[in-house]
Symmetry: D2
Subunit: 337 residues, 4 copies
């Protein structure tokens, strides 16, 4: 951490700041830039909150050298984390393909889609039971009943299930029922919820918030890790930009960056990122080419009548040719699917 002082800072003010930093466990180092006095800090600064220094009116700015996340940082954990989900794993050589409907609508729907996902070579079943919707008047999901239907689909196909948790109220049920707990983009900084899932040992699929920098994204993962749960899977799903053609802008550079910064697995959600079914296939292929550890894709047997997000769901029959292409791309990097 580097503290830049205002040009006219008197020496005694500077000494006071240095003393404070020493009291926080750092050594300090001082030098004179062209116009500014500068204090460099040595020691573990990851737990020092810059905002307690910035309030000092002699401080011009505080610059991080060290990343503020620790447990998520590859620097201290050089090998890839591989997250075990039952007999499956995410983050290893094999690419994870998670597919299923945006929301669980009825038993027949979810079961038939699950079977087609399985047949096409998918590894996990996704399905929304509790749905975060922009409008209070939109379908809010089947709730508990939806989880029951997902469980039946798992029983019948053997596919582990992924579903989104929106409230601490349901945490016990999710721990019992699902294989991977999804935390949605809108809740990426719902810190209370992050702490809750951090106290379990369930795999957590954490989606990047629409306005989250990669550093903030990793800080949210750090919340879960810091509570003791090492099983975090990061998911890039698009950020909000001025471009309105797509629902959000899929930031595929995030994949190699997150894999460099962190040891956690990184998957991509081309369905929510783009919001358009015909972009799912090229973006899924691009994600694997960029090095993603997996994909989460919306599949619906009857998009025209889906209860939500039909426009971003591909039909199950497109899964097989898509997976063939993905497999061929994966092979080039010596990965399997």
């Amino acid at each position: 951490m580097i503290i830049v002082l205002k040009p006219d800072t008197p020496q005694d003010r500077m000494e006071k700041i240095k003393k404070k930093m020493v009291s926080l466990g750092c050594e300090t180092y001082e030098f004179q830039g062209e116009n500014h006095k500068i204090i460099g800090l040595m020691g573990d600064t990851s737990k020092i909150d810059a905002s307690i220094i910035q309030g000092n009116r002699s401080v011009e700015k505080v610059i991080y050298v060290q990343e503020p996340y620790k447990k998520a940082n590859r620097l201290f954990h050089p090998e890839n984390s591989i997250i075990q989900v039952g007999h499956k794993a995410i983050g290893g050589e094999e690419i994870a393909l998670i597919a299923g409907p945006c929301s669980v609508e009825n038993q027949e729907q979810v079961l038939s889609i699950a079977k087609q996902v399985k047949r096409a070579g998918g590894g996990f079943l996704r399905g929304g039971a509790f749905k975060p919707r922009t409008s209070p008047y939109s379908f809010q999901g089947m709730g508990e009943e939806g989880l029951e239907l997902l469980k039946k689909a798992r029983e019948s196909t053997g596919l582990p299930i992924v579903s989104e948790l929106m409230s601490p109220r349901w945490i016990e049920k999710f721990i019992e029922d699902v294989d991977i707990i999804q935390i949605g983009a809108r809740n990426m900084q719902n810190f209370d919820l992050l702490k809750e899932v951090g106290r379990t040992r369930k795999p957590v699929l954490l989606k990047r918030g629409l306005a989250a920098t990669l550093e903030e994204f990793l800080m949210s993962a750090e919340y879960i890790l810091a509570e003791g749960n090492p099983n975090v899977i990061l998911c890039e799903r698009g950020i909000r930009t001025f471009e309105g053609y797509t629902r959000s802008t899929l930031d595929l550079s995030a994949v190699p960056i997150l894999k460099k910064m962190s040891h956690l697995p990184v998957i991509v959600d081309p369905s929510h990122a783009t919001g358009l079914w015909w972009l799912v296939e090229p973006m899924a292929k691009a994600a694997i080419a960029a090095g993603a550890d997996g994909l989460i894709i919306e599949v619906h047997n009857d998009p025209a009548n889906a209860k939500c997000d039909g426009q971003q769901s591909i039909k199950p029959e497109r899964l097989t040719p898509l997976i063939d292409s993905l497999r061929a791309i994966a092979k080039i990097d010596n990965r399997r699917l």
Copy 2:
């Protein structure tokens, strides 16, 4: 709502879509654009979820004519909503000034700041007891104890108190203890929490999310209103943009726009928006000039040693001259402070 079909849509497909819209309670109207067939919908479309139509592969796009919010819409509620908070009101002629420390740190601090806020002419005391922090290693607030200290400050000054609720777990306590429940920017789409505060009749100060459009912001207010709580105060606090000099970009155009779209009061938070104490004064003045119904401002007696966000807190002694300026600006528009 207007449905644009793909150029090559066969007539029977179009008829099917029209039938579906009729079954949802709309009348349909059809016309032929240069290249596209177009279906116009009449009737109350505010509760129709566009995503159930967009899944149809013949649909090119769906365009909203009507705003998707109803209870928050000024069209159906032309006069301003005035929110009663004890003996005070927000949204009327008088401008609301909410001030106080980012986080409650100890009794002396909060009490002394509260007295200074009162003396300078402030109307409400803000103070964080539960703090949403990007890093799990930063100070997370004093929790329940913080609420107790706020209550003592209220007792002593008579100022109603505003504090942020981060989890449904504490809702009972907040209903009992605080006068205005704040929902922070990061929880603007924590729909579960919105529904909870919607079930109370407490005034709710709802902050705009960093990536939220004004329409989405009003849809979040609609969640609260739809549950039966009419006491919603909107708060513009900056949106995330590429400009990194400020913490976020204060969108002051939002003030007149929200007041045109909705009947709810609109206040502005220049402290969090900019993240820099020396911008608080000019931006507070600009907010009132733009027509805001109030301000929420961070004040700290010792910013250099604040437990959080000292860099965006002004000192209490600056409140008096600031309020003088604000009062003069308010007067130009026939408002009081």
Copy 3:
């Protein structure tokens, strides 16, 4: 085009607007939405400027149904445009690989890089002679002398050359000297320059502006096409977002979208988009997987001493393995490189 009127618009005002639209060559169609009167327009609206209608105080909003670009629109030109550049072509089955230094520095440098590009299988040589730099104190390029060195490199390797034109002043020289004229991101809406290159028949590589929507990007292409030059190559090079880890955010969804909206070839510049050499390879692979028609990549033999942008240049020896991977990905979609 659809015109939404304010709820209280009197009939005679509406008739006046309809008359105006008829005088502009449209038929009008009128219907009543729930709260708004709506006028639909039929006929060729692509040349009607929405802003001449929006000024009417009775108009709530104007909605485009039809895209405002005509010559760039795939609707009216269904087959791919293939741009001939000497004996090479861009936009066909073969993927174009353009590589070379950010700026031309001296003869030895550009010649040795050109040879390595050629040897590795690259098809075109890029090199900056006139450099747009944020700071007036940064190296501004070798100018005319740089073009001479590029020509010598072309002579020696046979590779067609691509270089950026920044001012109408140099257009004659560029027409004579280079094979593809590049218009940089910062000049995407330098309409005067667009008209100039539109009056030639030279292939133009048009980069997307940092703040340009895809529609605006195509409108800039339309400027060139409208002047009579059909040889436009679109280049996605990242958009500006809040994420600061990368120089800009590479928007790979733009590739399949642009190819759907338009018949023009689309290439990708992973070097400028990311600003980081170690992201060039994964993003280049992702771009081809997403369906790009080509890539433009910065290569430098001595990045540590490059006169600009060394941090985003890969070394020539990395080209061969990269091209091997790209070729394998291209093959999956039946394309060549």
Copy 4:
């Protein structure tokens, strides 16, 4: 400037980097952070281009301490720059009000608007003769003829005139004809054009680009200053964000920030920023409350029939009450209008 090296950088590599920096005229200072070696630079680093260091593969990142602009920097020029325009001045105690039509359409229009601007108390007349338009099919302005009409309006009212220069081709004519040369947002990084106007001594009104950070904006001003023209007026006119209700997001925090970073005058364009006439008044007032040195506002006598941008033009009769309000706000800060 601070150079952060990768954790495993060998000592000899570090020495090499230090030597290079010394050869560029800096002293170096070295210290060891927790994981990274750090080199601090002393001396004038404003002319060192970070990109020539970042290309070194041992460099993790380069951090600016010193701002990269020099002549625009208030640090070296503490008092406000006051730009003389004939008998008027911009940047002093008096607030500049520039008003007029988006584009010059005919003599009667421009003359009648000019007179109303004058009568209401405006100080300068704006009018577009050469218009940058997104579409090649939109009205492109009257060109030279437009300049003639502006000159006649100046003759008749005495108001100095402001008009946009889009191409170096017309620079001689603009020097002769107009009082302030405007460089539009789309040309903020048209460096060739910046150098051209830098070589004159004409006042230049430089608009912020839609995707420009404040630092980049000042670097563009620096281009003009570096050529020898000190007469630069900065204009905030909105930045591009995800919010689509307004044409762009007016960033009023830019006003006090630019005035702190630089000595140049700062004005605001609420018309182009918002794109909506009914937002012009509240945003104009907010701009003055935030400390702006002036405003540039679009006024049209017949917005419904304006040849461009009628929806963002106010009618001349609204100028008088607006200026009254602005005057009252200005007075609070001891300024005149």
